[in-house]
Symmetry: C2
Amino acid sequence: MCDATDQNLADESQFIHPNIVATVQKESPSPELLSDLADLYKIFGDSTRVQILSALRVHEMCVGDLAGLLNMTLSAVSHQLRALRANKLVKSRRDGKIIFYSLADAHVEAILDMGLEHLQEINCPPHDPHCFEE
Amino acid sequence: MCDATDQNLADESQFIHPNIVATVQKESPSPELLSDLADLYKIFGDSTRVQILSALRVHEMCVGDLAGLLNMTLSAVSHQLRALRANKLVKSRRDGKIIFYSLADAHVEAILDMGLEHLQEINCPPHDPHCFEE
DNA sequence: GTATCACTTGAGCGTTTGTTCAAGTGATAC
DNA sequence: GTATCACTTGAACAAACGCTCAAGTGATAC
């Protein structure tokens, strides 16, 4: 743990509220970890990849069927599957000539659900007073 | 240009496993909703924005302090705050000349936590000795 | 009024990203 | 062996993205 008087970064030179900045510096995760977090969300931040993940959530699928479902080329889907594989969000098994893809673990589903929940909240739910205007 | 066998449902025409595709089509959310979901995650998919959100989670902050904390220009931070505002992930209040930003609601924290949890699972799962696998 | 502060906004620019196209790999069938 | 199928991969290119710079806005102080 850090000393409470340690303000070597948030001193009086440049900050309007140095004490607040010092507190935030202490309590927020490191920029490196947050950068990894951003990289993870970046994978979910594409329509094609989210559609693939959402489809695989229902059933394992081969690349050709995924391409037909999304109305995209085999190559485009394969490129995105590569990104999903690299980030361990999907796994694959081979059966003869066909390769079946499926979600890597339950965490992927949880992340999808979390986002869908938030979307519903944002779109002014019927009986929720937390509906901002503008 | 579509061929004569192109149909709106997954029949025997182009798919290797038409019944699987049909099931997925029925059970997966619409492409429009999934596109909105991708747009939401896109906001979380940038290191600067995640750092801002993570900082605001600890305490409300003004733009200048955020810029100092992240070691970025006022303009760069303001541009990202605009994106966060547009997606209702942060809210602001004015106090004289200073504008304080804070997280819009608890859902934002939950999404951040979900991602951080997943990162920990990926790096060193408790029962899996498969660390540093590639 | 002018000046300053805190912040926003638009244009410009280099970097990143996602798709297409063409070529290549690995497995099955003959 | 050759042929075909299912899929992958690398290069290329347009579109989207994030930062910088300069100008602009709104509030306070004088």
